[in-house]
Symmetry: C2
Subunit: 338 residues, 2 copies
């Protein structure tokens, strides 16, 4: 099960039995409109705060995924959830209404794959029959907490990224049909000394490549084993740096093999600067777009590396650099048999 | 492995191979002085912020535990850590310096047993040979973030609790000597509508009892199977409520069988109002005092139920009640054989 230093092989290949993706109004104007289960037409989702709106996203993502999987809430053993809001408020309040035994996770934007890795682990090792893993973010809740009130209209440099308003949930099961989770690599925290919170892609790129290297070393695989390697979310700047680091380290990638969730979700022309980010971004791009492409036979094996910038407003004020982490999960299409 | 709805049985009984407990100056005046590996004589621990001081506590707890276990950092597969500071800043920065593949957890004060449960799970299922689980809190970092600057001298009601300055770490292994982790129960989020952040014991008591009930139901055990059931941290108010709820639910406890970590760590006369709290409290009381009593043969089987109040300053401002959770882990002395 443990393979190498920091990876797990899931020989039973737990099934991603169903997923759900819920988005906001800005995502509704994006490139992946057809791959959401539900798109809200305003940021409030009928609530009186953005954090409560994010709770609704999580509840809807979990309930929809569970329903699509033909299950009832009571059949799900554990809910694994995390988000960017202090004390994981939206996750906690969704856990309260869903009443599923709950494990809170925090890895900033890497939480999506921290959750999927743990969910597959629990199912593979018979610690659960069904687990729901969910990751979410809300643009306005995030802006308010980490940066300025949006009403202030603060200008951002072109290296900064746009936090996605979305929640993506996956029900991982020991039975059913769907893409299978085959392995996972848990990352170390890497900090190369970058400290600009408006350029997190650059800060996160070395963590992504550290985990990528560890994944190939531990699982004795190479880029050739994957149709697509996708980070979430490095944006334009971070992806370019990650590709350069791969080249330096002798990781040979094919043309167009390494992409980024943060560059897939929005259309050309949407004002997202260096790209999208937020735990909800890699969750909905993976659980919507990428798994749909797998189901359609366009992709057989993918590796999703979710990256997290583990800074806080306080660590920035205390003039600290940005510690980063990345967790990788490999997924293969239902019909692939080794 | 999964037993019942929300519990795990660890048939291989992963070993708590070594632990370490690091405390602050107020803990140095407490009742458990002899059961700390290191006590700092001021709150700053040589750093220029309380959050950085908390990072030092975590680093020292992990390094000491790993060293006491006769291991090197490189032999530890995963570090599981969580704390109360926004974005888990102290955990993250400790993970950066320790360089051990890292999983961030958040369950407020329940994080101590969320971490121990997951560590035992990973070792039992051969996903790791050695895992370090650590939980921590720092009184001044917590006061600053959740309440008032301590310099303000704000008065508190007698129902409030005192956040412990401490970090407790446990190395859980597939080999070695020490107390064994035998099962764990992951809690649901329970919210009975209480909203007073200065009375979190009362808010958390129903979550503790919900998990206790689930544990007995799932594992087919009863209070008679344990020499001691210990919550962390309900304080005086919460413990009294929890005992009453147990009685109502027909959970028959012996005299003095149900105690609370928050009532063990300080001496009579220390101004801690209803008792101690913080993820560091249940961690150091369990990993120091309780495991020492097990090693001395005074206790054979204990159940630790760590409780967390999952509120945030923001959820309080938005007039929300306090969602609570509790995770339980059962530990037996090294020599107990069933």
């Amino acid at each position: 099960m443990l393979i190498g230093q920091q990876s797990w092989i899931f020989e039973t290949k737990p099934v991603i039995r169903s997923t759900a993706t819920i988005g906001g109004p800005f995502e509704a104007k994006g490139r992946l409109t057809d791959e959401f289960d539900l798109l809200h037409d305003n940021l409030w989702m009928g609530q009186d705060s953005y954090e409560k709106a994010q709770t609704v996203l999580i509840e809807q993502a979990c309930e929809t995924a569970i329903q699509k999987g033909g299950l009832k809430k009571e059949q799900i053993q554990f809910m694994l959830s995390g988000d960017l809001v202090n004390q994981l408020t939206p996750s906690t309040f969704a856990g309260r209404s869903l009443k599923i035994p709950y494990l809170g996770l925090f890895g900033a934007c890497s939480t999506s794959m921290e959750g999927l890795a743990m969910a597959a682990y629990l199912v593979h090792t018979k610690g659960a029959n069904h687990v729901v893993a969910v990751a979410s973010s809300h643009n306005a809740a995030t802006e308010k907490q980490f940066r300025y009130p949006t009403e202030y209209g603060g200008q951002k440099p072109p290296t900064s990224q746009w936090t996605v308003t979305a929640a993506g949930a996956a029900v991982v099961s020991n039975e059913g049909n769907g893409p299978r989770v085959t392995s996972a690599t848990i990352g170390r925290i890497i900090d190369m000394g970058l400290s600009d919170p408006f350029n997190m892609g650059a800060a996160m790129a070395p963590a992504a490549v550290d985990t990528l290297e560890a994944h190939f070393r531990d699982t004795k695989t190479s880029p050739e084993d994957y149709d697509l390697i996708v980070s979430g979310d490095l944006g334009e700047i971070g992806l370019a740096i990650a590709k350069e680091l791969c080249e330096q380290k002798g990781i040979k990638l094919k043309e167009n093999q390494f992409k980024d969730c943060g560059l897939m979700i929005y259309r050309e022309g949407q004002p997202v600067l260096a790209g999208a980010s937020g735990p909800g971004c890699s969750a909905v791009v993976t659980y919507g777009h990428l798994l749909n492409r797998m189901k359609q036979g366009e992709l057989n094996r993918i590796l999703v590396i979710a990256t997290g910038a583990l800074l806080s407003p306080l660590s920035f004020q205390q003039k600290e650099s940005i510690p980063c982490i990345a967790h990788a999960v490999s997924i293969e299409a239902a019909e692939v048999r080794v």
